[in-house]
């Protein structure tokens, strides 16, 4: 379907390979950005398998809560009551499932695969750099992340099990050992795992910012940067500014848990009708703290964090959409402006998670303002994407399907944000499945679809091969239909009052009629989960045995397509190409071919126009 008429790519790159390095230095403790990116990516996908499995167990429980799962009881003896020959899930196991599903998915999968994974693979290639600015720091950041993963995964096997206080870890639940079984050793592991993750993300962020600011090739002015590069830059800035708040909070939580401080713990805690007394036996052990402080610190990170997940996907989507629409990105400057606006506003909206938390209602007003305003740049992005498609010549290869999938999810999930941003409707909808529907569509879904799109699009630059297009399309269609089937109905049961994080909803009379919908959701979720097998088969098969990729298989314009697939060490065998134009020059009637790459020098006619317009005009 794509014609490869002008692809004189040769695999000269391999010849450039310098002196053989030992396997361990080349592929394990590598300092090469592409290898590190792939390490991040694959690790995140393994974590996704774990977190996805946890989600399947959550869904089984919500559809058939009191059912005997003999097989599951054998697989997870700690999670199911096995005494007396029945296998009903334990409530503490359920709490652990949703806590760890959220934690792993948000941080170890959807922050990692798009940002650390594709960020490392793509930044030097799109910016025209030999590698990241600090290759050693880059390797160190991956291995720090790896330790974080090991700590988080091993927490399933300690004492009373992994953390069970929700991915938001609100104290006192997460601070008092007797409050929930997971708040024993499991919560400590959670905190340590998170600190490793944040340390890794900070190293990565420094690398991203430095590389994008300092190592761009000649001619790559900020307003010639592809959207992915813009997104990576802003994401790194968000991470650097927001994550320190969570590290501080984690340390305070450690102190509250183990050293008797009271940052988050107020005076007068009574657990199981027994006052928690200090060593003197007369006064409370904890005095004067506030659980709201944790919520402020957590969400000060937490809200920029959801944009850390999403911005890369928005960048990938713009790049992919344009390539397969064969048409320039509509409103490039407003797209960049919208990214900046979203990133900036993301720092003043965190309190919308706290409208009913007991926070002063005046603050609720302020946070409603910022939250509602963020709808404007988000809408601008959607309109620009739609305008990009108007009059296009779309080629629906696998990456394009994922890209229009992101647009679809961004619309569906974004609009419910307008409901939740208004503090009064949020009274009814807060902590219901409506919120679960909202963020699974926009944050998780857009990020996930973005990663799948990016994987099929940039696979040539990762492994030098193409992914199988037929398998890819099958994977898209199963995922697209069942993703909506799983998360869209959650809006309805959420409006009906269905709570989140609830082990057996049917204890409540008003939720009993919703069980058939929950069963439908679960069936859809199980198909969604199993269809990911298609992806894993395609990924590994294509990585080793897929069709060899040419330099520029999609006829795209970015710098990453000017070098071999995969790029050699140092990315370009010869000098680094210079940039002369923006990355979205498609369908320009002044050129004989339908796309003009970023490194192609200006034609004589273009030079004349430029000279006539003077330097002040914006240049494309």
């Amino acid at each position: 379907m794509t014609d490869m008429a002008h692809a004189p790519e040769a695999h000269a790159a391999e010849a450039h390979a310098h002196a053989e390095e030992a396997f361990i230095w080349k592929y394990v403790f590598s300092k090469n950005h592409r290898v590190i990116g792939i390490q991040y990516y694959v690790t995140a996908m393994v974590m996704a398998l774990v977190a996805g499995l946890l989600a399947m167990l959550i869904r089984l429980q919500l559809a058939w809560p009191q059912r005997d799962w003999g097989v599951l009881a054998k697989l997870f003896p700690m999670g199911y009551d096995v005494g007396g020959g029945f296998g009903v899930m334990r409530p503490e196991f359920y709490a652990m499932l949703f806590t760890m599903h959220g934690t792993i998915m948000v941080f170890f999968v959807l922050s990692t695969a798009p940002v650390s994974g594709f960020g490392n693979i793509l930044i030097p290639l799109q910016a025209g750099a030999r590698d990241m600015a600090f290759p050693f720091l880059n390797g160190l950041s991956y291995w720090t992340f790896f330790v974080g993963c090991v700590v988080i995964l091993s927490s399933f096997f300690v004492g009373a099990g992994a953390a069970a206080g929700g991915w938001t870890a609100y104290p006192p639940l997460s601070a008092l050992k007797g409050a929930v079984p997971g708040s024993e050793t499991g919560q400590t592991f959670w905190i340590i795992g998170m600190v490793f993750f944040i340390a890794s993300f900070t190293m990565g962020g420094l690398n991203f910012v430095t590389t994008i600011i300092n190592l761009r090739t000649k001619g790559l002015t900020p307003l010639r940067m592809p959207m992915t590069l813009w997104a990576m830059f802003l994401v790194a800035v968000l991470g650097l500014l927001a994550f320190p708040a969570l590290v501080a909070a984690c340390l305070m939580l450690i102190f509250d848990r183990h050293f008797g401080t009271s940052f988050f713990l107020p005076t007068g805690l009574v657990l199981n009708n027994v006052p928690l007394l200090g060593p003197d036996g007369k006064t409370f052990l904890h005095q004067g703290g506030s659980p709201l402080l944790w919520q402020h610190l957590f969400w000060f990170l937490g809200h920029p964090e959801v944009y850390i997940l999403m911005l890369p996907a928005l960048g990938f989507t713009s790049d992919i959409l344009v390539t397969f629409a064969r048409k320039p990105l509509f409103g490039y400057k407003s797209m960049v402006g919208a990214l900046w606006a979203i990133a900036g506003l993301s720092f003043i909206v965190w309190g919308h998670h706290m409208f009913v938390s007991g926070m002063n209602p005046y603050l609720g007003m302020a946070f409603a303002v910022g939250t509602i305003l963020i709808a404007v740049p988000s809408a601008v992005k959607v309109f620009n994407w739609l305008a990009t498609l108007r009059g296009a010549r779309i080629r629906f290869n696998t990456p394009m399907l994922w890209a229009v999938g992101v647009v679809s999810l961004f619309i569906s999930g974004g609009l419910s944000g307008v409901w939740l941003a208004q503090s009064a409707p949020d009274i009814q909808l807060h902590d219901t499945m409506f919120v679960a529907a909202h963020f699974h569509l926009i944050m998780a879904g857009a990020a996930l679809f973005g990663v799948f799109g990016a994987t099929s699009y940039w696979f040539p630059k990762m492994f030098g091969r193409m992914m199988n297009d037929t398998l890819g399309k099958a994977h898209f269609w199963f995922t697209f239909v069942t993703y909506y089937g799983t998360f869209f109905p959650m809006h309805y049961i959420g409006i009906a009052g269905h709570l989140r994080r609830i082990y057996d909803p049917y204890q409540y009379e008003f939720l009993k009629p919703l069980q058939p919908i929950n069963q439908l959701i679960t069936i859809s979720a199980l198909i969604l989960g199993s269809s990911q097998i298609l992806f894993f088969v395609n990924f590994f098969w294509s990585a080793f045995a897929g069709k060899k990729a040419t330099e520029n298989p999609w006829q795209a314009n970015g710098l990453e397509w000017t070098t071999a697939s995969p790029p050699p060490h140092g990315n370009w065998p010869g000098p680094i190409p210079e940039v002369h134009r923006w990355p979205y020059e498609y369908a320009n009637p002044d050129f004989p071919k339908d796309h003009v790459m970023q490194h192609e020098p200006l034609t004589a006619a273009e030079m004349e126009v430029k000279a006539a317009e003077g330097p002040s005009r914006h240049e494309h």
Binding site: G165, F330, G358, F396, S408
Partner: protein, 262 residues
């Protein structure tokens, strides 16, 4: 093959629009039993406006995906910039959002306004995994509590030496409310964070240890409803359920007295 994918995506999108619109117009909200009808109106307004945008943008997405597929012969339009168009949709969106904002802030202010002077005082204290409900009794004053006094028999640590404590009425997981009279509920917690959720009354307030948060509303219809805990509070979170009984004002004192005896 290429054109089939675009057609499929367009059809899938249209199917999504039809199904979503159909099910969103069903009455999902639990029947309203309080005076907070403005919250329902705000939800409906959000549905209508975002629903219109949902339908419009999705239909455009479907149409463009189907209509503008590569024919292998012609080129796409070289069209990537239109300041007037871009400014218009930015400003129109901003205008709609400002309208939402204006309404939202007013409604939020109304919900959080001072309760009427004659509002009935009730205290609700969450603990793992029950709701302790307390009425001040004939003297209209809640007795002092001291969490150091908390025990199995005295879960909220009521100080019985306080003269106001003697006539306090204590109930467990049962909340009696008077019809058509404002109630102000002081929400507290003994241990972890809970959330006091009355689905039929459009009321939800987190219960925090160390803080007392007051909310108020007016029950409008008699009947029996449910209290749910909306904030994950431990392994018994799912069964932290209580009952709300709205009774006519004339029968309220007797109903409360009867409940207290049980």
């Amino acid at each position: 093959m290429g054109r089939l994918q675009g057609l499929l995506f367009a059809l899938a999108t249209v199917a999504l629009v039809v199904l979503a619109t159909f099910y969103f117009t069903r009455p999902w909200l639990p029947p309203l039993k309080s005076d907070r009808i403005a919250i329902d109106h705000a939800i409906w307004l959000s549905l209508v406006v975002t629903g219109a945008v949902f339908i419009l943008t999705n239909l455009l997405l479907a149409y463009f995906s189907w209509r503008y597929q590569d024919d292998g012969r012609t080129r796409a339009a070289y069209w990537h910039h239109n300041p007037r168009l871009e400014w218009s949709w930015t400003l129109v969106t901003a205008l709609i959002m400002c309208t939402f904002l204006f309404k939202a802030l007013n409604l939020w202010a109304a919900v959080n306004a001072e309760p009427p002077a004659d509002a009935m005082l009730i205290e609700v204290t969450g603990q793992q995994f029950a709701w302790n409900v307390r009425y001040p009794g004939p003297d209209g004053m809640l007795g002092r509590t001291d969490h150091l006094l908390a025990s199995q028999e005295n879960p909220i640590g009521l100080d019985k030496s306080d003269p106001h404590a003697a006539d306090d009425v204590l109930l467990l997981n049962q909340l009696y409310l008077p019809q058509d009279r404002a109630v102000r509920v002081q929400v507290r917690s003994m241990d972890v964070i809970h959330s006091f959720f009355l689905p039929n009354f459009r009321v939800k307030q987190d219960a925090l240890p160390g803080m007392t948060v007051q909310i108020w509303f007016t029950p409008k219809e008699t009947g029996d409803f449910e209290i749910a805990c909306a904030e994950h509070c431990g392994l018994g979170h799912y069964r932290m359920r209580g009952q709300v009984h709205v009774v006519p004002v004339a029968q309220f004192d007797k109903a409360l007295a009867d409940a207290a005896v049980q």
